[in-house]
């Protein structure tokens, strides 16, 4: 069972949260006709799926209802950082 530190409510159990998949996935410009099918395919379907540190989105659905980002190890499930939506990965500027 994950124990996720919600930045607004504190540490809570996994069932209170909804998983939002990988963070920092950037959508190509839909009005730019030069974006290739391969680029759209990467955006829509391909995933980093790392063994180790993963940056992902969570929503505290049964609490404050707010979204935030989490840096979590996919092997140990250790949560290394929690940071706001829209912010770069910790250690990047």
């Amino acid at each position: 069972m994950l124990r996720i530190p919600c930045p607004h409510c504190g540490v809570r159990d996994e069932p209170e949260f909804v998983f939002g998949g990988p963070a920092h996935v950037v959508r190509p410009d839909p009005l730019d006709a030069t974006v290739s099918d391969a680029t759209w395919t990467q955006y829509l379907f391909a995933r980093d799926n790392p063994r180790g540190l993963h940056h992902e989105r969570w929503c505290h659905a049964f609490g404050c209802g707010r979204w935030f980002n989490v840096a979590r190890d996919t092997v140990t499930h250790e949560i290394r950082a929690v940071y706001p939506m829209g912010q770069a990965r910790p250690g990047e500027h």
Partner: protein, 416 residues
């Protein structure tokens, strides 16, 4: 390498001579410097691929590289169910081929894989699910595969211990009579024995750490036990496929998750079929040793941990006990999870890649066990001919770019 056949006569002779004549079922090999084909991953799919390469195509120089021990990943963590009740014709023809191979596997491999075609009953818990079930059954029958709608009375007759008026009321369902379970360790060892007898090297404790390329072609692999040259490499490493493909610069449409399963203490025979509830995502069957085997869902987030979360475990158990109240006093003996690689359309990815000589057999997600024989057969053909076998052409990696998804999850309302 010739292998003495297993037979009743042999069993009797060994019994009277102290069982001193048994030889190892397969050869635990040291890696050589080069092979024609290297298969990464010593699970069911990898070993079956090696078996069909040696047996059907006469390829003698094959290695299966396994970082742990054979069958120690998802091949030893599944719930042993085989079935071919798929909605789309491409899935149906592939999985039914696999079930047919399972039906003759024990004879083909001279190894008792304990296939028991006890049927699978899929339950419908709402009017909507009942409608979906009818559509599903029609689809399966149109594909030429057996499927039969069941009334509530018929389900009650076949599974008397099922609670029909629980929080998940049973309104109907359907069965595939040819579905069933087999013994997963036996399937792994049978293919290992067959591949080894055909001349393949099975190398354990050998982790692949790099894929060597030259001019867009694969030329070998780096491993924890040295470099191995090979101009054809098959990746069949389930949950670790993204990591391996990343070594060749490929970014795959896969998410690795922890798929949960559990068994209870052994009890006398009480359940003689496989019961599936898509709504609560549980597969329930009773193994030959008397343990009730429960296949649950996958934790929703990325995980390579091979451990299941308590949250989903609790939900699976609670829902299963609603359906089978008489199991409430059974102790759970073991709970585990496999690192499964799930694709966006819940269908596998098989065949060629943009790197020449590199082949993929991944994306098996929550349903790879049933596909082992046909997966191995078609991948071996694909590697030898360097083009996709007709049965798996639709499962190619480029279907995502073409938009030709095969969404069995949506079609059947259940994960595969």
């Amino acid at each position: 390498m010739t292998r003495p056949r297993y037979s009743l006569l042999r069993l009797a002779r060994e019994a009277f001579t102290g069982n001193k004549g048994w030889e190892p079922a397969w050869r635990d090999a040291e890696p050589r410097a080069s092979y024609d084909v290297v298969v990464v991953g010593g699970g069911g799919h990898g070993l079956a691929t090696a078996y069909y390469l040696t047996r059907a195509h006469g390829v003698r120089s094959v290695a299966v590289l396994e970082k742990g021990y054979i069958g120690g990943g998802n091949s030893g963590r599944n719930t042993q169910v085989s079935r071919s009740n798929y909605f789309y014709p491409v899935s149906s023809s592939f999985y039914d081929r696999s079930l047919r191979l399972y039906e003759s596997l024990a004879r083909e491999l001279n190894f008792n894989v304990m296939l028991s075609q006890r049927g699978l009953i899929a339950l419908a818990h709402s009017e909507h699910e009942l409608e979906l079930t009818r559509r599903w059954v029609n689809g399966i029958r149109m594909n030429g595969v057996d499927a039969e709608e069941l009334s509530v009375a018929e389900i009650a007759r076949r599974v008397p211990i099922l609670n029909l008026r629980s929080r998940y009321p049973v309104l109907g369902g359907f069965t595939q009579a040819r579905a069933g379970i087999s013994r997963h360790d036996a399937v792994i060892w049978a293919f290992a024995r067959g591949a080894s007898a055909g001349g393949a090297d099975i190398v354990q404790g050998c982790e692949v750490t790099g894929l060597r390329q030259q001019g867009g072609r694969i030329v070998g692999v780096e491993t924890s036990r040295g470099s191995i040259a090979a101009d054809r490499v098959v990746l069949s490493a389930a949950g670790h496929s993204s990591v391996l493909a990343g070594m060749a610069g490929l970014r795959l449409p896969l998410t690795t998750m922890a798929l949960q399963a559990m068994v209870t203490e052994p009890v006398k025979p009480i359940l003689d079929t496989v019961v599936l509830s898509g709504a609560i995502h549980a597969y329930v069957s009773q193994g030959d040793r008397g343990e009730v085997v429960i296949g649950g869902g996958a934790d929703v987030y990325n995980s390579y941990s091979q451990r299941g979360s308590l949250a989903l475990f609790r939900n699976t158990v609670a829902a299963t006990l609603e359906l089978f109240p008489c199991f409430s006093r059974l102790k759970i003996m073991r709970q585990w999870a496999g690192a499964v690689d799930v694709t966006p359309d819940t269908s596998p990815i098989m065949g060629l890649t943009p790197v020449r000589g590199l082949y993929l057999s991944c994306g098996w997600g929550t349903g790879g066990y049933k596909a082992i024989p046909a997966g191995g057969e078609t991948m071996a053909w694909t590697v030898v001919n360097d083009r996709p076998h007709p049965l798996i052409a639709a499962f190619s990696l480029d279907r995502f770019e073409q938009g030709a998804l095969i969404d069995e999850g949506a079609a059947a309302g259940v994960a595969h």
